[in-house]
């Protein structure tokens, strides 16, 4: 029997037996869940773009309220180790099911790219993945992509190249090498354009390739770093400090969220308008900016899934998979379903709002939400 059901049954029985006023506790009868009373550990890997967000979201999930824990001094034998697990039976008095009942533990590993992270998830090497791109047309059918945020891609120059406007046709022309000199762009002084490529595992590159309609690294004019590799996404330090790339003639693209959130990554980069639109939260939300994307938390379908239009996440009912199911629901449920954070006194919805603000992302607009406050895209 599921843990929450057990708790609910215990509360009902207690009420019937004692006849005391436990009505309010019974009314909080827990839903079916991925909880199993154990402190399960779940690990995620993948995207650089979403690393900072997920680290902070995991912090609030790890801190979220839940069961009363077994705090007795552990016995010597490891097999008997129950420190921190949920108390059971009559010893359990908590009815808080809006946070992290099991006090499961979530950790994001250092970034290694969206595609590598999703592959590791499908291989069973990690429990969830971070992706800054949607599912591929094949090979990822076992995964659910939970869009929890929106972002845009911006075109960036640095050095003394003043930011202006680029049309979509001009961006394509720069990366297919049919536009090779800045004098071909309105208002710009002459200079050979140096379009910088990006590491192939990056979701940010996959999104840009999709926008271009071809591989951004394929043009003969594209530039890589002096060591022959392509730079890691969303970090201008590499290109600004590189000896091969002309500082006044280079151009690249990056996450708008990372650009506004992290000045150390942004360095002296300046954002261009695209098709005369600035990349703002508003133009990304309403899709009037030309290059927008969703940002995803990726799970195995067997661990976390949902019926159409439902905020209730179903799937695994214990272990690391159950933990991932609960993390997914934590990220995708609306404000009213969140509990308080014991350290700040704010709701975890408010805390997550601060995470969006700090990391530069915006929540999925209501018109694009499919499940709770997320947009679920199953791998085809």
């Amino acid at each position: 029997m599921k843990l929450k059901s057990l708790i609910g049954a215990a509360l009902v029985a207690g009420t019937l037996l004692s006849g005391t006023a436990m009505t309010s506790m019974v009314s909080a009868s827990p839903e079916p869940s991925g909880w199993d009373d154990n402190n399960d550990k779940a690990t995620g890997s993948g995207s650089d773009t979403t690393y900072a967000f997920m680290q902070r979201a995991e912090l609030y999930m790890n801190q979220a309220q839940g069961c009363d824990t077994d705090n007795a001094t552990p016995a010597a034998a490891p097999a008997a180790y129950t420190l921190g697990d949920c108390l059971t039976g009559a010893a359990q008095s908590s009815v808080n099911v809006n946070g992290n009942w099991d006090h499961d533990i979530f950790t994001s590993t250092y970034p290694n790219g969206s595609s590598a992270g999703v592959k590791a998830l499908i291989n069973g090497q990690v429990d969830y993945a971070r992706s800054s791109r949607g599912p591929k047309s094949s090979g990822e059918s076992a995964a659910n992509f939970w869009g929890f945020a929106k972002d845009g891609l911006i075109m960036v120059t640095w050095g003394n190249r003043p930011a202006g406007n680029l049309t979509t046709a001009e961006i394509k022309g720069i990366y297919n090498c049919s536009i090779t000199d800045w004098s071909q762009i309105a208002g710009q002084a002459a200079g050979t354009i140096e379009p910088v490529g990006m590491n192939a595992s990056s979701g940010t590159k996959a999104t840009f390739d999709s926008y271009l309609g071809f591989d951004a690294n394929s043009g003969a004019c594209k530039k890589s770093l002096s060591n022959g590799t392509y730079p890691f996404e969303n970090d201008l330090k590499q290109v600004i400090n590189d000896s091969v790339i002309n500082q006044n003639n280079g151009i690249t693209w990056m996450s708008r969220a990372e650009y506004v959130a992290w000045s150390y990554k942004r360095q002296t980069g300046a954002a261009w308008t695209v098709d005369s639109k600035s990349a703002t939260a508003g133009t990304i939300a309403n899709n009037s900016y030309p290059i927008t994307r969703f940002i995803y938390h990726v799970t195995k379908k067997t661990d976390a899934t949902a019926a159409a239009a439902s905020a209730e996440v179903t799937g695994a009912d214990g272990g690391a998979g159950g933990a991932v199911r609960e993390l997914t629901e934590f990220m995708c449920k609306p404000a009213a379903s969140h509990g308080l954070n014991d350290f700040t006194g704010k709701t975890n919805y408010v805390e997550l709002t601060s995470v969006y603000s700090v990391t530069g992302f915006i929540r999925v607009p209501a018109s694009e939400q499919t499940n709770g406050i997320c947009k679920l895209v199953p791998g085809p």
Binding site: V260, A261, S278, T280, A281, A285, T353, Y356, S357, R363
Partner: protein
């Protein structure tokens, strides 16, 4: 002057200059919004205004946001008190002073949070907190930078309606009366001449 005395004098001068520079106010930026009050028609829910700022860091990204709470409020938090969809982030310039067009909203926060900026006589939807004074805040580098931010309060002024309709309501009865009188006198004149 002995070298040791010169060194001491220079050190003293440096100390004085250092203290003087430290004494300068930290958040010396300003922001203005034009027009303000923001004039809107009865059905208008957004309006473009010009936000102009000075005193921000040179060549540093600028953040312009619409907030429900003043930065002077000790509980102000940009993530909770400013609109998530309504801000803009123009590139900075060498002067640290520039202007940009900002679309301000009248009604519920476009991100769907339970607050909004309203004209005095507006009715806020159920569950939405009505603010008749909102704030345009500017800062630089990162949106959470409270060291160099500044703000200006904004309000909405609702115009009485479309301008052409008012004269017509006067002109039409006047013209009608004149036409009737003209017709009356014309008929009377014809009758007399017969």
């Amino acid at each position: 002057m002995k070298p040791r005395l010169i060194v001491k004098s220079l050190a003293g001068l440096a100390l004085v200059l250092g203290v003087a520079s430290m004494a300068a106010p930290a958040g010396a930026s300003t922001v203005t919004v034009t027009p303000n009050p923001v004039t809107v028609t009865p059905d208008q829910t957004t309006a473009n205004v010009t936000a102009s700022w000075t005193g921000l860091a040179a060549n540093t990204l600028v953040f312009v946001d619409i907030c429900k709470k003043s930065i002077t409020d000790a509980t102000f938090e940009v993530s909770a008190d400013c609109g998530a969809y309504s801000g803009i982030t123009p590139n900075g310039n060498a002067a640290g002073a520039n202007s940009a067009v900002l679309e301000v909203f009248r009604g519920q926060d476009p991100a769907g949070e339970s607050w909004g900026c309203f004209a005095a006589d507006d009715q806020a939807p159920a569950g939405v907190t009505k603010y008749t004074t909102c704030y345009v805040r500017v800062t630089d580098n990162v949106v959470s930078n409270n060291d160099s931010d500044s703000e200006t309060a904004i309000t909405f002024s609702v115009s009485s309606g479309d301008v052409p309709e008012a004269p017509l309501t006067i002109l039409l009865p006047v013209l009608g009366t004149l036409a009737a009188l003209g017709g009356f006198f014309l008929i009377r004149r014809q009758t007399v001449s017969v």
